[in-house]
């Protein structure tokens, strides 16, 4: 019996402990929830107005301060940028101009040399061409003169023979023939006596 009573008591105690534990846990959860949720601050209207005024003043001051700082920074940056741009522009332009002038000078020098070479080549060609043409002209002239001589002899002979027709009068030529023979009789004689 005693045991049953003791067991009853223990059970009762156990139930109480469990109940209390459950209640404690619940309370703890509620506390945590309450802690997580902001607690509404109850401020009076004058205080709120005062706080609002102070906040506005501070805000305006900060804005003014930030604007001033930004303006100064912007000015300094702009100045630096301007200087940099100016320096860069001047330097770059000078360098580029110098390089350009150098390149131009080189190009001019090369062009001048090329022109001189071309001029010399043209002059050389001109001289060669002239000499060649003169030689060709001389050769052509000689060929023409030779042809003229050859043809002129034939023309004259043909003209004479055609003009005389078939009636060649040797009688009128005999004096010329004998005179020619007389002028060369020694040569003829030498050849005849030497050729026996």
């Amino acid at each position: 019996m005693e045991i049953i009573i003791l067991a009853g008591i223990v059970l009762m105690l156990a139930i109480v402990v469990v109940a209390q534990s459950f209640q404690l846990r619940k309370a703890d959860q509620q506390k945590k929830l309450q802690a997580a949720q902001p607690k509404p601050v109850a401020v009076s209207e004058p205080t709120a107005a005062e706080l609002d005024a102070k906040l506005k003043t501070a805000y305006e001051a900060k804005i003014t301060e930030a604007t001033g700082t930004f303006g100064e920074d912007l000015k300094a940056t702009s100045q630096k940028l301007s200087e940099q741009v100016s320096r860069l522009t001047t330097t770059v332009i000078e360098e580029e101009l110098e390089a350009y002038q150098k390149t131009l000078e080189e190009v001019r020098k090369v062009a001048t040399q090329a022109m001189e070479q071309i001029h010399q080549a043209v002059e050389h060609q001109r001289v060669e061409l002239r000499q060649g043409m003169e030689a060709e002209l001389a050769a052509e002239k000689k060929v023409l003169a030779d042809k003229f001589d050859a043809k002129m002899g034939d023309i004259v002979a043909s003209y004479i023979s055609e003009s005389l027709g078939s009636g060649v009068d040797l009688g009128s030529q005999m004096q010329f023939i004998l005179t020619s023979l007389e002028a060369h009789k020694e040569d003829i004689r030498k050849d005849l006596l030497g050729g026996v």
Partner: protein, 158 residues
């Protein structure tokens, strides 16, 4: 006196013809002599050219003709080796012109030579002489070509 070939016999062809005439005459003479001995009728005496007569007369020099002297003449004529001159004219020369040329050559160069005459109308005038080693051009054409400077001068003047 040395034998001189008459001017009428100026070429090797004429000399050959004369030699042939004399040989033929000698043959005829021998045959006729034999035929007379046997009483046979011989052939008629062969004809001969005027040049043959001239050569025989020049060879005999007034002496009577004998078979031996004629045989000696044939031998002499066959052994003749004279240089030849070719004469080219615008036309063939007539007898007197030919004789004048033959006489000139034999009198002014050497009497021992032959001549041949050729005609070429293209010469126009003058003469071309071809000796054994040389050619002498005395044509008008050659004279005109040689005087081309004069011709050029005339052309420039005109």
């Amino acid at each position: 006196m040395a034998f001189e070939l008459p001017g009428a016999v100026y070429s090797p062809q004429l000399l050959e013809a004369v030699t042939f005439d004399i040989e033929r005459y000698l043959d005829w003479y021998r045959e006729t002599k034999i035929q007379k001995k046997v009483g046979a009728k011989g052939k008629e005496e062969p004809t001969h050219s005027a040049e043959t007569v001239l050569v025989i007369e020049a060879w005999l020099g007034g002496k009577p003709a004998t078979v031996e002297s004629l045989e000696a003449l044939v031998k002499y004529l066959k052994e003749l080796k004279w240089p030849q001159v070719h004469v080219m004219l615008a036309a063939l020369p007539n007898r007197s012109q030919r004789e004048a040329l033959v006489d000139w050559f034999r009198a002014n160069t050497t009497p021992h030579l032959f001549l041949s005459f050729v005609a070429d109308r293209n010469l126009g005038g003058g003469v071309v002489i071809r000796t054994p080693n040389r050619v002498f051009d005395f044509t008008w054409k050659q004279e005109l070509v040689a005087g081309r400077d004069k011709l050029a001068g005339i052309i420039r003047r005109v």
